[in-house]
């Protein structure tokens, strides 16, 4: 007979408490709000799934969700492609390696709201470097506070500038872990550059790319600070992404019920898409 040692629970308890307080309890609060209606005075009335239905039918939500998917799809496509290309062209040994690594890491070290503020000033048509050069030197009308297309381009370029480095560094880590012997084998076989990429470098980068895509998906899908500081969701609602809209509903209009329901839907979508990515990208892996 095996003796069951109950001491194990003691070891798990601290983590359990921690997780309960930073994840479970806040989340249950949100669940609580999402099924009730309140008119202040701390009075709550049961509202069932009404808020969920309202959010799911709301055109405003559909529009924000559409913008969110468009944004995420675009930055993922650009950042992954660009990240792989930059990682491939970075030197793998020698004097320039630390220089390249530090340069790459710099944008990531800047706080998010500073990035937004920086780009906001950068693009001002009268005093911003980019804004001034575009409008006055090159003669291309560019004002992202008035033109939705310009706002979109700016938001995307800003995110690419801020986060491509993450993909680069992850891919680079994958690349440098390939032993020289593989490149030698390819050289002896006379494999083309494309074959080397396709059959040696890409398989080695696949795992880090999975992580990069997941991280970039979750981060960009939940992005708030940078576009909020840069455009505030404007002009009009053209760059109002999901999180910006959510904050507007929750804190601007103080509609706690709908905001809670929206949060949960938002969370479910993020979770589902992350799972989808992960499953698709690892389905060929053999244990």
């Amino acid at each position: 007979m095996r003796k069951v040692n109950q001491k194990g629970w003691l070891f798990v308890l601290p983590v359990l408490l921690l997780v309960a307080f930073n994840a479970l309890v806040p989340m249950m609060t949100v669940v609580n709000y999402s099924v009730q209606e309140t008119f202040g005075n701390n009075q709550f009335f049961w509202h069932g799934l009404g808020w969920f239905e309202q959010i799911l039918r709301s055109e405003r939500f559909h529009a924000a969700l559409g913008r969110q998917f468009l944004f995420t799809a675009m930055i993922l496509a650009i950042e992954v492609l660009l990240g792989v290309i930059i990682a491939l062209s970075m030197p793998r040994k020698g004097f320039w390696v630390p220089f390249c690594l530090v340069t790459m890491a710099l944008p990531m070290l800047i706080p998010w709201n500073v990035v937004g503020a920086m780009w906001n000033i950068f693009t001002l048509p009268d005093i911003g470097l980019l804004g001034y050069v575009m409008n006055h030197t090159l003669g291309i009308p560019y004002n992202m506070t008035q033109d939705p297309l310009a706002a979109w381009i700016t938001v995307i370029v800003m995110d690419v500038w801020h986060w491509t480095s993450l993909v680069v560094l992850l891919c680079y880590a994958g690349l440098v872990s390939i032993p020289d012997a593989y490149y030698q084998a390819a050289k002896i076989d006379g494999a083309s550059n494309w074959s080397v990429f396709r059959f040696i470098q890409l398989p080695k980068m696949k795992q880090v790319l999975t992580i990069a895509v997941l991280l970039r998906f979750m981060d960009s899908f939940n992005i708030y600070t940078e576009p909020f500081v840069l455009t505030g969701g404007g002009p009009g609602n053209s760059t109002t992404l999901l999180s910006i809209d959510l904050v507007k509903i929750a804190l601007g209009q103080f509609d706690l019920g709908p905001a809670a329901a929206m949060s949960l839907i938002y969370f479910a979508i993020t979770l589902f898409v992350s799972w989808l990515f992960y499953t698709l990208m690892t389905r060929h892996d053999v244990k």
């Binding site: 032993p179 012997a181 593989y182 030698q184 084998a185 050289k187 002896i188 076989d189 006379g190 494999a191 074959s195 059959f199 040696i200 398989p203 053999v286």
Partner: protein, 354 residues
């Protein structure tokens, strides 16, 4: 087909990695490169394979100058110490990959891959991927690729170093017959003297980026041309100590000395370095001619049926390796006997004189 190195050197940023080296490697027998880690074996292989460029000198294959030629055009194969196979390809595709790059017809590829797989007993694994194979099978896949390619030169860079003992023995036995009759120049780099002896063929001893001696393996073992060569080709390390010769006697000091016979007796009087392999120093005096030497036992090892003892005599530490189980007591004096017939004598410049 022969592979010839004519006075090649290799420098990286002013540092000489390979000093002027000339070698003529022939097919049919194993050419072993024997040297410690860092002796330049891998550097030399990379030069021969065309993965690195020589600083000076020429490389000829079959009399044709290939010095500036790419590895692909040289038609060579390289098997590494660790297992290099394309991870996402099956064993079949791995073996076939150089043939496909060369644009060979499908039916011929099939035939060659299967023939190579049969030789290396990989037939049942052809549709597996490398990570589903054991280390030995992965290395056999790399060997099969070299065989299927029918390269003119095959470089094996410590191919057995990462395999466990049993597999290593097994594969080492197979290796010579695997390449016999294929007409390829086979170069085998190893850091283990015992491996060179087992593979036979010819051996090039390497030390500090230089080939110190090259010739039939057994001959080199019997007559190392310098003290350095003797040290490279001895495991456990060869014993060496300064001696003084006068008349027909040599003196080691500490009361150890012996009568010289043969060519050594004809040497001019003076100081020499004597070297003797550990297996010629025994705790048993099986012949009267053996020279007694008493030293303080420092380390003892018993490996199966052989006893090793490290003992101190004057400033030198000596090693004895004797068959059978012998009892030594660490810290106590013990009498050993050296067979003077197997001594090498080196001049002060390191050259073998007797």
């Amino acid at each position: 087909m022969a592979l010839e190195l004519r006075a090649i050197t290799k420098r990286v940023e002013q540092v000489t990695h390979i000093k002027e080296t000339s070698l003529l490697l022939e097919p049919g027998r194993f050419n072993v490169l024997l040297g410690e880690t860092g002796a330049g074996k891998t550097s030399l292989i990379k030069l021969m394979a065309g993965l690195d460029r020589v600083a000076t000198g020429q490389i000829l294959m079959d009399g044709r100058d290939v010095t500036g030629m790419s590895p692909q055009k040289r038609n060579i194969s390289l098997v590494h110490q660790f297992f290099v196979n394309y991870p996402h390809m099956t064993v079949f595709d791995n073996i076939a990959s150089p043939l496909r790059v060369a644009g060979m017809a499908k039916s011929e590829i099939q035939g060659r891959v299967e023939a190579a797989a049969d030789v290396l007993q990989l037939r049942p694994m052809l549709h597996r991927r490398p990570h589903e194979l054991s280390g030995g099978q992965q290395q056999r896949t790399a060997l099969a690729r070299a065989i299927a390619k029918e390269s003119t030169a095959v470089f094996l860079d410590e191919p057995l170093a990462n395999l466990d003992y049993k597999l290593r023995e097994e594969l080492r036995e197979q290796l010579p017959e695997l390449f016999a009759g294929r007409g390829a120049v086979v170069v085998y780099a190893t850091s283990e003297p015992a491996e060179a002896l087992m593979l036979g063929g010819r051996t090039a001893l390497m030390q500090d980026g230089r080939v110190t001696q090259f010739g039939p393996t057994a001959e080199i073992y019997r007559r190392p041309n310098t003290l350095v060569s003797a040290r490279v080709f001895s495991d456990p390390p060869i014993n060496s100590a300064p001696v003084t010769k006068s008349g027909d006697r040599v003196e080691l000091g500490h009361g150890v000395g012996w009568q010289l016979t043969g060519p050594a007796a004809a040497l001019r009087d003076g100081t020499y370095t004597v070297a003797i392999r550990p297996n010629y120093i025994s705790p048993v005096r099986s012949e009267a001619a053996f020279v007694p030497m008493t030293g303080t036992v420092q380390i003892t090892e018993l490996s199966g049926s052989e006893s090793t003892a490290h003992f101190r005599l004057g400033a030198e530490t000596w090693v004895s390796l004797a068959p059978g189980v012998h009892r030594y007591h660490v810290g106590e004096d013990h009498e050993f006997f050296m067979d003077p017939a197997h001594c090498f004598y080196f001049a002060p410049d390191g050259a073998l004189v007797a």
